[in-house]
Every structure is written in C-alpha cells, then in structure tokens.
C-alpha cells in the first residue's frame, strides 16, 4: 500500500499509486492496453507497474481497442478485474460496440448471474494542444448508455479514491481522466478515501449561482468564482465527480439555495452531458429556478486544432459573461 505523508502529488501520480495499490492488494487485478508496459503509458499513468509486478499483471496488448475491451470482458467473466486503457477518447470508438453491446449489458442480460468488474480508463478531453482526434470529450456517449458507471475526477485525491473504488466495483466503470489535469498538483496523503461514486461535492460555497462542473472544468469554475468575488457575485461550485450515477440530491440542494445554475463542460453543447444536467435539474427544481440553467460548453463543432482551442474551451470570462445575460431582477 502506498503510504505517504501529505505532500503535493500530481493526478498522474495519484492514479499510478491507485493502480499500484490495487494490483498489490488484489491478485485478480490486471492492467493492459497500448504502451502501458515499459513505456508506462503515453501519460505515464502506468509508469513502473510492469517492472514492479511483472508481465503477467501489466502488459502491452496488440493495438486494437475492440480487442482490448472484448478480451477484458472475457477476463472479467473469469473473475479477473481488468483495468484497460484507451489511449485517447477518440481511440475508444473502435471499442464502442464491445462497450455498449456487451460491457454495459452483460449483467442485465444474464439476470445478474455474470457481473463484469472492469475499468476502462480514458485519458479524456482537451486543453493540451493535441492534434486532431486527441481532445474529444466522449462522456455523453457513455453516460447515455444504461449499464455503465461513468466517473471523472478533477483532482489527485479523487483520482486515487475513485480509481480504487472503480476497481473494487462489481459494475463496469468508464474512468475518464482529464488530460489537462494530469500534471496538476494537490497536497495529499496516500492512501486517501474521498466521497464514493455517485456523490457530487460542493467544492466552494456560494449563494448567488451554482456552477456545475466536472473533470477539467472544475478548475475553470473555481477560477470563475474567484474572479466573481471582485464583482460581489457569490458562486457555489459543484464538482460532479460521478456523471452516472448522478447526484441529484447535492445538485438539487445547491440549486434550491442559489436559484440559478450553469453547467460547464468541454464537449460540444448539442446533446452534451450538460443537456441532461439542465433537463433533470429543471424537471426537479423548476419552481425554485429564477432563470434557465445555462450551458457554457464547447461549440457544436469538431474539437479545434491546437492554435484555436483557446476559442473553444469555456473560460472564466465566458462564464461570467453568460451569467450576466440572466435577467437578474426577474421574474
């Protein structure tokens, strides 16, 4: 077990520690995918794991995502707990059929006789100047698929804790790792246990507006809240952490308090995860809302090339401008 005093660690290091601890603790945990062995993954999340645990626990597979996920289904049926990596969101698409038609459905179709305890890790979203196909935000595809659990940490402590829980879970988990936050640091003592899957967290309290964010946009929302202080706007920030299941209680309580909310994500807006957030919160809290729930998201365009991504990603300025469009005096 990784035990450390509180010290600043990156999200990549936290994930690495979580994988290490899970492999050490449970002999059924195996890790495989493209470049996860000697290279330690293109983001170094699996750094050193093969050297420490050997090639029968951590190994490089052939380059074929459907093959990776499909074989993991078989391994999970056997009783293993495979943790597999899709190198980037867009490279999970070849595995789409295996994920949607098998991973998500096996437990249900067998009337609960076969569970698939597996984790599909996806380095997700943009903000790192990646070329074409390296910055998709695929969460809406997974969250719309019944049978999947979808989480996305925004900080090292959650990354560690959610990963440990995802691996222990008997349900298959899509584990989205915000690439732009891999190197962000936080003071954490390991091992750390944060709130469980299914729980959102108020990461900053406020009274006027609720910003609902997850993964890479939590930092953006917090920065916005900071800036808004100057304008005497008190912003509450919620880090969803778990997209599916969704924590209606925490989000609802905040919105009932503030009466106004906006959801922030990188993915395109049309049919994005923010639509679900806006729709369900409105359904449940309509009579508490003083304004429509705004969505401050990517545009409805393919993710831009590196030099143009700054125009695409939600910024604090864009969020503040959007909040300013509300008719604050109404209704």
């Amino acid at each position: 077990m990784t035990t450390t005093e509180a010290k600043p660690i990156t999200m990549a290091a936290a994930l690495n520690a979580a994988l290490r601890d899970a492999i050490a603790e449970d002999p059924t945990v195996v890790v495989y995918g493209e470049d996860v062995g000697p290279l330690g993954g293109v983001f170094r999340v699996t750094d050193g794991l093969q050297a420490e645990f050997g090639e029968n626990r951590v190994w490089d597979s052939p380059l074929a995502e459907s093959g990776i996920v499909g074989t993991a289904v078989g391994m999970a049926m056997y009783g293993m707990r495979p943790v597999v990596e899709m190198q980037f969101d867009a490279f999970s698409y070849p595995a789409f059929e295996q994920i949607v038609s098998h991973v998500a459905k096996m437990h249900n179709r067998t009337k609960g006789r076969v569970a698939l305890p597996m984790v599909i890790r996806i380095p997700a979203s943009g903000g790192i100047g990646g070329v074409e196909h390296h910055s998709d935000s695929s969460e809406a595809y997974w969250t719309h698929t019944p049978g999947l659990t979808v989480v996305m940490p925004s900080n090292p402590a959650d990354a560690y804790s959610l990963m440990r829980e995802a691996i222990r879970s008997d349900d298959p988990v899509i584990f989205m790792e915000p690439k732009s936050r891999y190197w962000s640091k936080q003071e954490v003592a390991l091992p750390v246990t944060t709130e469980p899957i299914g729980t959102a967290k108020v990461v900053r309290e406020g009274t006027d507006v609720t910003l609902i964010a997850y993964g890479p946009t939590v930092a953006t929302a917090l920065e916005t809240a900071e800036m808004a202080e100057a304008e005497e706007l008190s912003i509450e920030v919620i880090d969803l952490r778990s997209l599916s299941p969704f924590d209606d209680a925490t989000v609802g309580a905040s919105v009932r308090k503030t009466s106004r909310a906006a959801v922030i994500h990188e993915a395109a807006q049309f049919g994005g995860f923010g639509a679900e957030v806006a729709a369900r919160v409105t359904e449940r809290e309509f009579y508490h809302l003083a304004a429509p729930i705004l969505r401050i998201t990517g545009f409805d365009i393919p993710y831009p090339s590196p030099k143009l991504e700054e125009y695409y990603l939600p910024t604090p300025e864009r969020i503040l401008n959007a909040l300013a469009t509300w008719e604050w005096e109404l209704p």
């Binding site: 996920v69 074989t71 078989g74 056997y78 038609s101 067998t110 049978g147 299941p245």
Partner: protein, 366 residues
C-alpha cells in the same frame, strides 16, 4: 504478457480439400487421405450420431414451435449438427463455450435446460441460463464479438494456471467483421487456449460466401496469425470431432489456439422471418440435403453393424422426450415481472432506477 514464447511458429497452409474421415456415402476415408487423423472409436461415433439425431429432433421441434408463434424467432442449425455436436463432444465440462444465436443445439447438448435456453428466443428475457453453471456464455447476437470474450476468458484461465480451453463459434459472415481478426490476432500473440470454430454454412442471411471472401478457404487466414488452421468437412462429425479433440488438447496443453473451419450448409431459412427463395434455389438446398451429416454417419455405423434397433429406439425416445419437454416448456405462459427490468442493470443499487421502478410499479397499480 511474458506468457507468449518468442519463437516464431512454423505452421503451414491447410489442405485445400476439406478433411473428411467418413465420406458422403458413409464409407471410411482411406488412411492416406486422413491428413494424419484417426477415425474416432465406434463408441464415440455412436455417441456423436446419437446426440446429432436428438439435436435434429429438437431443432425441428423448436422450428415448429416458432412457426406456431410460441417463439419470437429461432435460428435453426439443421444440417450443421456435425459442426455443433462434433465440437461440443470434444469439450470437457470445464471448458467454456462462447456461442452465437445459431448454436442452440450445442447448448442443449451441453445440458442447458431447453426452457432456460429458449427464454431469449421466446422473448422472456435476453438470456435464460446461468453461464457459470454451464460454462457457456450468452448467445451473442452482435457478430464476432463473442470471439474476443473467448480469448479473454482463455487468457485469464491460463494466467491463473488453469488448464482449460475455450471454444467459440463464428459464422462465415461474421468472419468478415473486425472483431474476428482481433480475436485471432490476440489469441495468436497471447497464445490463448482458444479454439475458433468457423461454421461456414455458406450464407450470411442472404449473402453467399463468394461475397464474403476471395480466399480459397477461411482457414487460410490462420497462417496470418501464426496459428494452425484446419479446413474440415463440416458435415462429417467424425472429422470435426477428431480435429476438435486435437485442437482442444493442444490448447489445454498450453500450445495455443487453433482455427477450424467447418464447411457445411444452412439448410433452413436464416430464421423464421427470412425468405430464402429470394436468394437460393431449392436445387441448391437439395444437393446439400443429400450430404446430410446424420445420414452419413448412420450409414457408416450401419456398415459397421454398430447401430442396433434398441439403439435407434433409445435415440428416438430420447429425442421425443426432449421435444415433448420443450413443447411443454414453451406452452407454459411464463409470468414475467416487469420489476425485473430494473433489478440487474447494475450490481450496485442506483437511486434513479429505484425511482423509475417505483414509477412503473405505481403505473401498474393505477
């Protein structure tokens, strides 16, 4: 994984003539043409015959029940009994099977209760038996996807030091899917104890084999993965059984995967909702009916004086018993609980699904 040996295998191309041990007329093929395989002992051949005949009776019964509307759909394996039964009898109870929708008779032969087995096709629930109890996975509909599960399961068993093998059936049509390639390739690289049985019944619904591949045989693909490949007369249960037995032993021994193509024919329509007159003639079908796998083996057994009237009676009786049990199971109108819809989506309870279940329950009570 380190499990794969780093030396390159030397595997040749399969013989272009499908391997057969008993010919169309029910005569043993001369040893020089047996490609190194021996005719299984008569007791085994009798059991193959027996199980095929029972399977045929059962399959015919299920098709009839489907026509009567007792099942939503049923993909028959009529004419493919040698592939299905020859494969299943070469498996031990410990081995796992990863089947498709086409392979119900294999599952029935593996001991799955027909009532449970047909739940999916009747439309009660997607899949009705306990895969772990019968070491038989769900019948896959998305083509070729199950082949990867077979490879993953086999690899896990191997990593765990368990000496079992997995088998998966793949159709000639499904062989065109990317997943078939990935399964062959992963199995080769990981030296997974998996035997791929490509049931080439020459049609994918209406699409004939000639639109599916330009290769001489589908087994020709094996060499591209460093895997041994066999091209087998899929209407000769003796040949299927012999090749499968060798492949299974090889896999269990730790020597890796095998691809076995069984050339056969889909005698029935694709399913009850298909209309094969649109794409093939009665004459074509008649030719293949003439190559019937059960009659062929029967002739051989008769020529060996190995099939007594008592044997025949027992087989007929057993077939009728299975058919009757199935008729009975399918005539009962199962009581389904719509609340089950929410019970198995996740292992971990979800508040939102509890809400939705309560909503549906309230609707029922209204």
């Amino acid at each position: 994984m380190s499990l794969n040996v780093e030396t390159k295998p030397t595997v040749g191309l399969p013989d272009p003539e499908p391997l057969r041990l008993i010919d169309d007329e029910g005569r043993a093929v001369r040893s020089s043409a047996r490609q190194g395989f021996e005719l299984p002992p008569v007791a085994t051949l009798k059991e193959l015959y027996r199980r095929m005949a029972i399977a045929r009776r059962w399959d015919t019964q299920v098709t009839a029940l489907t026509r009567q509307g007792r099942l939503a759909t049923y993909p028959s394996a009529l004419g493919q009994e040698a592939c299905e039964i020859g494969t299943v009898l070469a498996m031990t109870e410990q081995d796992w099977l990863f089947p498709t929708y086409r392979d119900s008779i294999a599952l029935m032969t593996r001991g799955i209760d027909p009532g449970e087995l047909l739940q999916g096709f009747r439309g009660d629930w997607h899949s009705g038996w306990d895969p772990k109890k019968h070491r038989t996975s769900v019948q896959a509909t998305p083509l070729a996807t199950q082949a990867l599960h077979a490879v993953g399961y086999a690899t896990a068993a191997k990593l765990n030091g368990e000496r079992i093998a997995t088998v998966t059936f793949i159709g000639d049509g499904a062989s065109s899917e990317g997943d078939t390639h990935e399964a062959f390739n992963f199995a080769g690289v990981w030296q997974a104890p998996t035997v791929f049985v490509v049931q080439n019944n020459q049609f994918a619904i209406s699409v004939p084999l000639s639109k599916q591949t330009r290769a001489r045989t589908l087994a020709d693909r094996a060499i591209g993965y460093g895997i041994p490949g066999y091209y087998v007369d899929g209407n000769d249960a003796a040949a299927v059984y012999a090749v499968m037995s060798r492949a299974m032993e090889r896999a269990r021994r730790g020597d890796g995967p095998t691809i076995v193509e069984c050339l056969t024919y889909r005698v029935e329509a694709h399913t009850n909702s298909d209309d094969p007159t649109r794409y093939r003639t009665a004459d074509d079908v008649a030719i293949w009916k003439g190559k019937d796998p059960i009659e062929r083996l029967e002739r051989y057994l008769v020529s060996q004086d190995a099939l007594s009237d008592a044997d025949r009676d027992e087989i007929t009786a057993e077939g009728e018993r299975k058919a009757a049990a199935t008729r009975e199971a399918m005539s009962a109108e199962p009581v389904l609980d719509p609340m089950d819809l929410f019970a198995h989506v996740y292992v971990n309870e979800r508040p939102s699904l509890v809400e939705q279940r309560e909503f549906l329950k309230a609707e029922g009570n209204r």
